[in-house]
Amino acid sequence: MRCSAASVLASELFHVKHYDVVVVGGGHAGTEAAAAAARRGAAVLLITQRIDQIGVMSCNPSIGGVGKGHLVREVDALDGLMARAADDAAIHHRMLNRSKGLAVQGPRIQADRRLYRSSIQAQLRTYPTLRVIEDEVVGLDIGSGRVRGVHTEGATFETTAVVLATGTFLGGRLFRGTERLDGGRIDEAPSKHLSDQLRSLGLPIARLKTGTPPRLDGRTIDWARLERQPSDAETWQMSFLPRETLSPPQLACAITRTGELSHDIIRAGLTDSPLFAGAITGGGPRYCPSIEDKVHRFGDRDGHQVFLEPEGLDDHTVYPNGISTSLSRETQDRLIASIAGLEQTEIITYGYAVEYDYLDPRSLDHRLALHVLPGLFCAGQINGSTGYEEAAAQGLVAGANAAAHALSLDPFLLDRAAGYIGVMVDDLVLQGVSEPYRMLTARAEYRLALRPDNAESRLTGRGVQAELVRELRRGSYRRRQEMRARARDGQMEHVDADIRREVEEDARYAPYLERQASEVARMRTDGDIAVPPPELLHAVPGLSTEMIERLRAARPKTLDQASRVRGVTPAALSALWLHARKTA
């Protein structure tokens, strides 16, 4: 069908029309949610404050990495948008952990921002049941204990399911030195009303912070003096779908580092730092998000690396990865000038920190749906995660399940043995977060089995079953499955190179995978034992008040899930098990 780009992006209002799913936010979570819901057959409305900003990379211009690359491949295996957009926009390729096993290799690309955005927007236009409008959602329409629609300033849209993918826009506040601005990104307004409404619903909302470095004018960088980091010689792509179009030309990145002078400047600037002067109250992470944090916590280091990443082919903006900061403009000027190769460099946009609202993800179930408000789904930074890839993966889960909710389809659930997506969702909804959640391979207990290269084998079949995969990929998957079958029989001719390597790697780790299989089997058996809902927990003999509190916060549905709720003791698990047995 023709749902022309013009009409979709023309910001027209659809008064009082019913959609199956409304997605709020056009970032990495929102776009994947909208696309996933549409793939499952839902009529979807995506509402964003700025249509031209759909698919924008607000922070670093790269996609993938170790753990994150796993997520990108899994989203791709489920026919998501991210990997294809990354391939369309890749101006630099780097396979991390190249010398280690395939299970931890981390495909990462630098993206041309504009190309990335336009790829996402172009992909969205191929969805006939998806409409996009430019507006601000000011509230949810709630009635009879469920979500019925969303209100914008001028209209109300009826719907059965809403996916909130508002990123840092919920109660967003920017900090830079002593400057304070309300917003989710620089020059973009926050969603204040929505935040107030969520708080008024009594949902557990708290604050987190993140930050971004200053953007540099690449024409004023002394590249000749810096160590170059070329793109990988070997070509590879993010998506499992064979590409017809050529990759854009490849650019090199460069590396420089801060020195003692930089650190002295930072220390001197800490007095007007919102982080250190106590202006930001949101929880900070254990890892180092800002250069001031690195200098403060690791004072013994004589320098910290700065990766200079070009933002695009015809864009002279350079992203200095490693020096995220919310120090004052003056301090940022002095800091940049203190770094080798950047002495004459001009700052285009100054770095800043963002503090924003997030919802305790323990109030969600494994569909990323709110326990207490049927029809409301959340994805991305609003759930306490950080990173484009984490957001995209949650968007896919939330979108697929929002469609399921609206159309009475089976929920789309992935457990920890199925993929990193399952690990992340399980971690978020059972453990909650105390710092922005970042995907790490160390979090995946089945790491040897959950490889980025075998994501297609692991997940595309499930995606097909859930009708999450469109025809183009279904065909490609069928062909490649036949190749896998042949490769496993030792017939390697006419088999794609990546499949050959995948089959070889399978054999290499087979003995360890067998041992893990029993762990998985136990997990799935305990997954069949039900845990009573929060209001009935007091009837379980032997559960202490503390245990009941912990279980109430995370609401595990099965004994297996309960075993991963932090602080829940073996004794409490025994009590739950005994109770389940007695009431069975």
Binding site: R447, A571, A572, S574
Partner: protein, 424 residues
Amino acid sequence: MGAETIFAVSSGSPPAAIAVMRVSGPRAMAAAAALTGRLPSPRFASLRTLRDRDGAPLDRALVLVFPGPDSATGEDLVELHLHGGRAVVAAVADALARLDGLRLALPGEFTRRALTNGRIDLTQAEGLADLLEAETESQRRAALAASEGALGAALSRWMRALSDAAALIEASIDYDGEEDVIAGRDDAWHAAVALVRDQMAALVAQPTVERLRDGLLVVLAGPPNAGKSSLFNAMLGREAAIVTPLAGTTRDVIEASVTRAGIPYRLCDTAGLAEGTTDVVEQIGIERARTLAGRADIILWLGDPDRAPVGAMRVGAKADLGETSGCDVEVSVFRAESIDVLWELLAERGRRSLTLTSDIALREGQLMAVSQMVHLLAHSIQQADLLVAAEQLRVARQLLGGLLGQDATEAMLDALFGRFCLGK
């Protein structure tokens, strides 16, 4: 709720000054009434004469009644504080067993009922049981060490060491290319893991809590009519086994718990290891004797010293008959001082195998986990593939986390981010 009413002595094994017989279940009150005639008020201790169903007195005992659900088991519960003699306890148990709907409790059944009825949680159940059963000095020490966290402290120390080691590996995997990590990437973690492995292995070699509680297993073995039962009785100072001059009198295993000089023993008298017997019952007894001898800490071998099992203490049991050449020790059941000499030898060996070089003892369940960890750690060090090494370390950390009630991944991430400056 269990429909059956159960009973058992709940305060360690007799002989002891006082033995507490507990009866729990729907018929507990009726059972107590049948023995005492009239029940005291709930929670008030009263002295009552217990009688069997023919009216013959069994004991003068303190009787306590706890109506359910506010009792230790959550059911109707009666405690009979008996004079601790074996005969008294046996007679009361016999009288209870004759009542309708009552049976002897299975091991741990009271605790299970308490757990099922929500009166205690699992950790309480474990600690409580051990305190109740701690009889001797070293057991008390083990129990105290556990409760004061000596074991917990050791486990936490290992957790820190393994988390640090894993952090080195995981940082090099998850933060490939960051300079802070490159500096730490070598086999620096090997030494730390090897140290934990050695310390764990040393703990595994120590006696377990159960061993300290149940005592040293001393098995009397030898051919028929070698004087095993006579010696058994002489060591206990009473007639526990039937002793006759006929070979093959002891058809099964007879066991007694005895504490000498602070060391608990389980003394077992076995059927004679006669070859070629055709008596089926005797054959079973011999089979059991063999099994038991295999698990024994000390075998007292009464018989031809040249045919003694390896490591057995060779006892010349009929010193008064002059058949004792080549033995480690000579005893005569008619000379008490010779029995004392035997006990001293046992104590010497017993102290060795029951002595804790540290104040930490593991339970059997913990021992299994720690042994497995020793194995995993050893393998992780030998691994050339970093991913497999990390996997073995992960399983070990998970097991350790299980013992500590900690999230092993979070502990490792704390170490990771505490040690390395990571993140861009």
